[in-house]
């Protein structure tokens, strides 16, 4: 089994720590890796898309799960797939789309593994309709601290602790996932502009239920009357009849052809993304969006994963890396959301990848992030002076409104706020204490937050 001591960071490229990287390729190797991980424990890692320190383990072992990359079985009639935890959603799309199936939930990147999708209980643009990823997982095999492999079915405490449990209950080896049927690999997309935050929230509230997928890009640098101006893109899988007149698309309606641009260079000067450049970008992005356009056909990669087109896009923030901040507050807490957007825009945080979305019902995962309400996600260069204190103040607002921040994106939360944000944390800790008394499964995130 290949082992290597390497410096590991999350996608945000902050807080590097050193770990032994172990890449198991079979159940036996995975069991051996967990048994031999040593005093500082181990943690599973997929494709490293968690922004913070969730898949790092300083001084211990990190299990690179991308070696378990087999798609074992597809039920083409029933619409389920059984695959290894290291299979990426990208791979699933390649395999499943020609058969007329799509993953039930996809985040803003398809380069995440199935194991990671369960561990972070990820959500996508369809959360208000379909919930989070774990809602579509029927069962999974979990390698626990005692070296046993357990079959975990939905509805059990271990399932709910693992869904969103950030890999701290064990290592997921395989999972059975229910799929979404599609007729084509194209998306039918409606685009519209919202002139300010109130307009945006009104539009989302009024018409979100008509769309399976919905998200709004929001300009957090706009101030005054245009504070919160946004571009809404909402849509659904295009039905076959929508391809009328497009002969090429009709010939292969389920073809999956994501575009790809050159990778971001490995060295980018710090401060490239300052207020001026980001402000300019945001202005252009807003102006180029149509006031209202209906039924545009877009490729899946354009609609769901625009950033995947640029490999290593996280390098554009330079050596200092960046922080992703995502929080959710419940319905009825619109004032809090408004106040936070106001504070961010007053502070002129250069954030060009900010999105606002409405969540639907939450799922039973104990540490699962989504809750019915509003979620805002933004990224900010980590070297912005005073950012740490500013985000702490936002945390206070979020916690006071019974909201929470997303652990898969966190790299800086104050540990004291965690219990307020995740009320079932005590149950999670109790289950971990029983299942894994020696804390075999440990990550930098769990150390930092005392999970």
């Amino acid at each position: 089994m290949p082992t290597d001591t390497v410096s590991v960071t999350g996608w945000g490229r902050t807080a590097p720590t050193a770990a032994r990287l172990v890449r198991p390729r079979s159940y036996e190797e995975a069991v051996a890796a967990v048994r031999e991980c040593g005093a500082r424990g181990g943690i599973a890692r997929g494709l490293g898309r968690a922004y913070g320190d969730a898949a790092q383990n300083a001084g211990g072992a990190v299990f690179d799960m991308t070696g378990l990359d087999l798609v074992h079985a597809i039920d083409v009639d029933g619409g389920t797939v059984l695959c290894g935890a290291g299979v990426s959603l990208h791979r699933l799309m390649e395999v499943l789309l020609p058969l007329g199936w799509f993953v039930p939930v996809t985040p803003g990147t398809r380069y995440v593994t199935v194991g990671g999708a369960i561990g972070a209980d990820i959500h996508g643009k369809n959360h208000h309709v379909s919930g989070s990823f774990a809602r579509h997982v029927l069962s999974f095999e979990l390698l626990t601290a005692d070296g046993q492999i357990r079959m975990v079915d939905r509805g059990t405490p271990l399932f709910d602790a693992t869904a969103g449990g950030m890999g701290l209950t064990g290592v997921i080896l395989t999972a059975t996932v229910r799929l979404q049927p599609v007729e084509t690999s194209l998306m039918s997309v409606d685009t519209e502009r919202a002139t300010d935050l109130d307009d945006l929230m009104a539009r989302l509230t009024a018409t979100d239920h008509r769309y399976r997928y919905s998200v709004a890009w929001i300009d957090l640098l706009a101030r005054g009357a245009s504070m919160g101006r946004s571009v809404l893109t909402r849509g659904d899988h295009a039905p076959l009849e929508a391809l009328a007149g497009r002969t090429r698309a009709r010939r292969a309606p389920l073809e999956f052809r994501p575009g790809r641009l050159p990778a971001a260079p490995s060295f980018v000067p710090e401060g490239l993304l300052g207020r001026t450049t980001v402000g300019l970008f945001n202005e252009l992005w807003y102006r180029k969006a149509p006031h209202a356009r209906v039924g545009e056909l877009q490729r899946m990669s354009t609609f769901f994963h625009p950033l995947d087109g640029v490999p290593h896009w996280n390098r554009v923030y330079g050596r200092g890396g960046f922080v992703q901040y995502q929080f959710a507050v419940g319905y009825g807490q619109e004032e809090t959301l408004r106040r936070i957007v106001h504070r961010i825009s007053q502070r002129r945080c250069p954030s060009f990848l900010a999105v606002l979305k409405r969540f639907g019902e939450g799922d039973p995962g104990w540490l699962s992030f989504p809750m019915p309400g509003w979620t805002l996600a933004l990224d900010i260069p980590a070297n912005l002076p005073g950012l740490g204190g500013f985000l702490d103040e936002l945390d206070e607002e979020v916690a006071a409104a019974d909201g929470r921040v997303y652990l898969a994106k966190d790299s800086r939360l104050r540990p004291e706020l965690l219990t307020a944000m995740y009320p079932r944390l005590d149950e999670f800790r109790a289950l971990r204490a029983e299942l894994d008394p020696r804390s075999v499964f440990t990550s930098d995130l769990s150390r930092r937050l005392g999970l």
């Binding site: 807080a15 300083a58 740490g388 204190g389």
Partner: protein, 251 residues
């Protein structure tokens, strides 16, 4: 663990009564630091420093540590690391000595060198090994501009800091890629009890300013920090001044 901005949750200060060390601790406690170890010779000063930090809400403990007793470093510091991860070690101890007195008393001069240099070599290596084992952490070492080029007026202190500075740079290179971050901090003249009564040099600074610079350095994962930053330019010019001229400069 350090957060995305490099702020530690646990801090070990070697030289627990150092004004710069305590100013740094105060600053970090307002952010994320919850556990502070103050290592130093047992004294009322050390205890009152601990009390002062406790009042800010930190969990503060003291540990017996004497830079002049390198044989005891392993045991004393090993005990601290055994209690839990240390996210940041601040090597803050040092003595200025009395140049004109020490020139005539080699024993006193050697004590300056032993405290500032060999004491730091020993404790620095002990901490470096512990940090490497835990796979993360910052080792922040307080050097001085005096070590950049030896001056007639304080070359005993300056030479000890020059040794410490070179040692730290090498250690930083040795630990590159191990998850451990090593940072050299080179303050200019700092107004503190160590420099009380001395004539103030240009670009003088304060312990609080050094603490701020350390926080920024942690965020940027800097390897070298000058306080104030302008000293970097000044010293790089002074470094190239010919000996004959440098000797005559009123420094």
């Amino acid at each position: 663990m350090k957060d995305a901005f490099g702020i530690p949750q646990s801090l070990l200060i070697l030289g627990g009564t150092s004004e710069i060390g305590l100013a740094t601790a105060r600053r970090l406690i307002t952010r994320r630091t919850r556990t502070v170890w103050l290592a130093g010779r047992p004294s009322p000063g050390l205890e009152s420093a601990a009390t002062g930090l406790r009042e800010l809400g930190a969990d503060v403990r003291t540990v017996d540590f004497d830079a002049l007793d390198p044989d005891a470093h392993e045991a004393a510091l090993g005990k601290v690391f055994a209690e839990g991860d240390i996210d940041m070690v601040l090597l803050a101890f040092g003595v200025l000595g009395d140049q004109s007195h020490d020139e005539n008393e080699p024993g006193a001069a050697v004590r300056v060198a032993q405290t500032n240099y060999t004491g730091a070599v020993s404790s620095g290596l002990v901490c470096a090994r512990a940090l490497q084992t835990q796979g993360h952490g910052s080792l922040v070492v307080l050097s001085s501009v005096a070590g950049e080029r030896a001056r007639r007026a304080n070359f005993i202190y300056g030479s000890s800091k020059a040794g410490l500075d070179a040692f730290t740079q090498g250690l930083g290179d040795a630990l590159y890629g191990t998850g451990v971050h090593v940072m050299v901090v080179r303050p200019g003249f700092v107004r503190s009890k160590m420099t009380e009564g001395l004539e103030e040099a240009p670009l003088a600074t304060t312990p609080e300013a050094v603490a701020t610079a350390i926080e920024t350095g942690l965020r940027r994962r800097s390897e070298t920090v000058w306080v104030p930053g302008a000293l970097r330019v000044v010293m790089s010019a002074l470094r190239h001044v010919p000996r004959g001229v440098f000797r005559r400069l009123p420094l």
